[in-house]
Amino acid sequence: MKAGGSPRGRALAERAAYVEASLWRRLRFENETHCRERLFSRFLTLARALAHREFGRRPPQGLDRGDFEQWAYGGLLEAIDAYDPLRGAAFGAFARHRIRGSIADGAAQASEANAHHAFRSRVEKERLSSVRARGGEDRDDPIRELGDLAAAIAVGLVIETPAPPLSGGYETQAWRDLQLTLEREIERLPDTEGAVIRHHYLAGVSFAQIAQLLGLTKGRISQLHRSALGRIRARLRPDD
């Protein structure tokens, strides 16, 4: 599932190298920190491709593809922070080296215990703790809390699953319609909440890495995640 706005006339005049240079200039010299996230999104495909390639080249040892992606994203973040755009080297080549190094370090450090807590279970735990972190009166309403948890699981499932298992044509179309509705709701979210949801669900980036990317604390990312899910849920709820 891909998020993004409709194409615009200005896109016809844009040139990729110029757009990338502009992002580096604004990030490094004009303090426009949001450009960091745009650069991350721009090179996400490269990081993921390297993660998949490295995953395919190594024995699994209890690790899943998601672990490799996390190490790759970590390497990409490090590369963005270390890169000097005035030195002339292309960022892609620079980042490739860092990403591979990060994957190699991660794989080397992965212990037997870590292998049993692979990415998928960690990420689900992270999401659910975010939703459960709500304090005050809601904690006294177990039914509502259960509803929130179910909504969080459902949003993740719909966004991440191409089609429901064992489904026919009608179900697949209904699922796709639901995905499109969710996609539109994600587009309507406030910028930072939208960035959290897109990076986490569409690209599989962990809360810790999104925190690093946006220059916020992990706790704040968790709050934004909760708030975004609440907003989506409220908008999708039929009028009483």
């Binding site: 409709s6 615009r8 200005r10 016809l12 190298a17 757009v19 240079a21 502009s22 200039r25």
Partner: protein, 194 residues
């Protein structure tokens, strides 16, 4: 001593560059040497920016063009090129701001036509953009390389222009959306979409 580089020196330099007698690296050295003597000359900063753009050093190119406009706000071609650089860089709002002052030029000035055409492009008015870019090309007798760039852009827009029948089928879809759909379809088919 004047703070501006003598016109004759600049003209000689431009002639050399136009005749491709020097590499871009060497051109940059020549401009930088003159800038040591005339750091306030906007024309030299403009030349530096253009040369750096040719070398792919785009961050410094932007700096050169911006410096030229800051030093000489009425330097119309530098202002136009800075705005075009910004548009190409995905900074359409900055481009519109930069071009604002060019509205003081006569209505019939070729730069006005180019700017108005590019403003149409930003608004998704492709037909308007093509018409105004062509008007600008017809009016511009003093800057052939710029005509070449604008003509290329107009040609590209025409090449990607939507089939009128398709446009009528869905009035909610902008012209640009249709253009991009036609542009991306064959790429997706081959599996090599960007």
């Amino acid at each position: 001593m004047s703070i501006y580089c003598p016109d004759e020196t600049l003209q000689t330099l431009v002639r050399e560059f136009q005749q491709s007698q020097t590499s871009l690296d060497h051109q940059l050295e020549r401009v930088d040497a003159l800038l040591l003597a005339y750091p306030e000359d906007a024309r030299l900063h403009f030349m530096r920016g253009s040369t750096l753009a040719g070398l792919g050093r785009l961050i410094e190119a932007h700096q050169g063009l911006s410096r030229a406009v800051a030093l000489a706000p009425e330097f119309a071609i530098a202002r136009f090129q800075l705005g075009f650089f910004q548009l190409t860089s995905g900074e359409a709002d900055a481009a519109l701001d930069t071009w604002g002052r060019l509205d003081r030029l006569d209505d019939g000035h070729y730069l006005r036509k180019f700017v108005d055409g590019l403003r149409c492009l930003v608004r998704d008015d492709i037909q308007g953009a093509v018409a105004l870019l062509r008007d600008g090309v017809a009016l511009n007798q003093e800057n052939p390389p710029l005509n070449h760039d604008m003509q290329l852009l107009a040609d590209r827009l025409i090449e990607l222009a939507p089939n009128p029948g398709n446009a009528a089928a869905d009035p909610n879809v902008s012209e640009t959306s249709l253009i991009l759909r036609q542009f991306t379809r064959p790429l997706s088919k081959n599996g090599d979409a960007p």
